[in-house]
Subunit: 205 residues, 2 copies
Amino acid sequence: MKLYITLYSPYARMARIMLAEKGLESATETIIARTREIGSPYYKINPSGRVPYLVRDDGVGMEDSQLICSYLDHCKGSPKFMIPQGNAGWELWRLEALGRTMVEGASVWIRELLRREEERSPTIIDHEQRRLQRLADTWEEEIDNPLMHGQINMVQITLACALQLEIWNPEFEWRKGHPLLVEWLNTISDRSSLSTTEPPGPLSK
Amino acid sequence: MKLYITLYSPYARMARIMLAEKGLESATETIIARTREIGSPYYKINPSGRVPYLVRDDGVGMEDSQLICSYLDHCKGSPKFMIPQGNAGWELWRLEALGRTMVEGASVWIRELLRREEERSPTIIDHEQRRLQRLADTWEEEIDNPLMHGQINMVQITLACALQLEIWNPEFEWRKGHPLLVEWLNTISDRSSLSTTEPPGPLSK
């Protein structure tokens, strides 16, 4: 298989974490895609130009981090990351969506910082900052949920990817007033699949 | 149940379509949320401020259109929109992701048009236009897939919501050179769940 990524995409990171969790690194060629470039050869591979993108062994390509993670989970051994049927499933999915909305907010902010200064919107940056503070408050209350502890799952992976966007964007200061979240991230961030895929450092603006 | 929406969100539209498909309109109060306003009371209900957001009968709230659609599908009668196990499931999900990436691209473009003129980025608008043209080319080839015809499913709903964003943004001209897509949309757009949730007209910039 071939997995197309960029090093700064939190969504691509989820797929990279899944490769590590499932021991699929050697079965998969990981390729850094040239995104957001006019005429990039990558658009012949994935017309949307987004990452992650998985080209399966049968040649079919798929995007969407949730789909790719689920597919990889089924590629080797028994699936460990499936959403169960019934109430436990709705609860897991509800929390995954709550983690994903934090990834999305932090990503909008980062994309804004990557624009030319005169094309940035202070209103949008302020909007995303406020959104992320409210979400950190919500997660401080939710983090006691048993699904956030014990066996790793997509919610834990998603929330860790969200919070660690502070490495790209040091202005994303979610720690203050959220001691339980800080403690939770400390506990999980040493896990090998997370530490080996950590963002390398602040984005240059 | 209470479903929070805005009239211009394609993601909220998917949830409204599902209410209609499942005959759940009278069991659900649909409420227009005040999003993107500092201090909106809506943030006390959904801290992310996004739509759609479903508050279930047990008081628990959930965001994410895929989750909400799946939950609504299970609320009444037997589920009709589930992703099946195995190869048919991967194919359905792959196409759903391909539709969703088109919704996302068209939405980024519309959000750009809603910014103050001096804060818009011609580079980003050009990027999204090119992305959408490539995706329309891809869909012109995929539209023969049996999953795009016959019994309604989430892929068909998603692609229709993507293409009909032309109503909000008349500059989203995907029709030229894509006769099969035009024909496909003509066939599906009369369906009651789609026609009653159509965007009311072009966005004012």
